[in-house]
């Protein structure tokens, strides 16, 4: 089970709370997912905020507020301060967006914001790319968890750069790594866990499924299967066939 900033987390699935057809379906999906961590955000109060606050408190999940939509370190730091007060947690999913079409992080502003927030005692979960140097800088800044993207947010493309993600896993064997964004199918989530990733954070794959609760259950199964497969030490791949039935003792017919 992943240990995130000293907290043992039961499930390796983190689930977002956005884009569900209804609050009831959101609650059902959470129940089916077994996720112990829910991502949330802050937006201008237009009347729905207080109902949502009551709903997320009833999920029984630990909250991970995000800084979604922030484009500068300053904006992200202020949003983190506001989130800490509203949600009563020093955990923050740090997002600093750099590109409108891909929602790629602005890794320069991200590192700057991470340094400021970590120094203030925040437990920073940075949404980053799989770039080894950026990840090293984030660790230097005080992050104890890294959250590289699998693919652009909301795209459902899966793991765009498996080689890079494997290299990141190998480079930081002791750092909790969470695939954040891009997961569309349970097979994507299982693949991440088979690589040795500690957890998967997803939202749209469940919220935008025809049956979100059923998909939440499928994701939970996939994450469990992927983790078990990693721990079971999978066989080596070969390019040529290797007969599984013994050759010795075969009859001459």
């Amino acid at each position: 089970m992943p240990v995130l900033y000293g907290t043992h987390v039961e499930s390796a699935l983190l689930l977002g709370t956005a884009g569900y057809p209804s609050p009831r379906i959101l609650a059902d999906a959470f129940a089916r997912s077994g996720a112990g961590i829910a991502t949330v955000s802050l937006r201008r109060e237009t009347g729905g905020g207080q109902d949502f606050w009551a709903l997320v408190q009833s999920l029984g999940a630990r909250l991970l507020p995000n800084t979604a939509g922030c484009h500068s370190a300053k904006e992200a730091v202020t949003t983190a301060h506001m989130a800490r007060e509203v949600f009563g947690t020093d955990w923050i999913k740090l997002e600093v967006i750099g590109h409108a079409d891909t929602l790629q992080p602005d890794v320069f502003e991200l590192v700057q914001a991470a340094r400021i927030l970590a120094a203030e005692g925040f437990k920073v979960f940075p949404y980053c790319t799989e770039d080894l140097t950026v990840c090293e800088r984030l660790l230097d800044a005080g992050c104890q968890v890294l959250m590289p993207w699998g693919a652009p947010i909301g795209s459902g493309l899966g793991l765009n750069n498996p080689h890079g993600l494997r290299a990141l896993r190998a480079a930081f064997p002791d750092v909790p790594l969470i695939i954040d964004a891009g997961i569309g199918l349970p097979s994507h989530a299982a693949a991440a866990m088979e690589m040795g990733y500690d957890a998967v954070l997803l939202n749209s794959a469940v919220a935008r499924a025809g049956d979100p609760a059923m998909m939440a259950g499928a994701m939970a199964d996939a994450v469990r299967a992927g983790r078990a497969a990693y721990l079971a030490d999978p066989m080596e791949r070969t390019d040529m066939a290797v007969p599984s039935t013994p050759v010795l003792g075969k009859a001459f017919l």
């Binding site: 937006r43 606050w53 979604a68």
Partner: protein, 64 residues
């Protein structure tokens, strides 16, 4: 005087951030920022506001 509350101009005679929020009917579980800087809940009634100030009042919302 005129202030900008959550992006919309509004008139107020409030002296503090806390008064301005009450007058505008913005209550509940929120966090506030004044001109881009976070103002903790405990300091809202000691935080004066001036003409042209930008106030953000944010509430818990769905997020990924």
């Amino acid at each position: 005087m005129q202030i900008i509350l959550n992006g919309s101009p509004c008139h107020t005679n409030a002296a503090t951030l806390a008064d301005a929020l009450t007058q505008a009917g913005v209550t509940g579980h929120i966090a506030t920022a004044l001109n881009g800087s976070f103002v903790p809940a405990a300091l809202r009634d000691q935080t004066p506001i001036r003409d042209g100030d930008r106030i953000e009042a944010l509430a818990p919302m769905q997020g990924g």
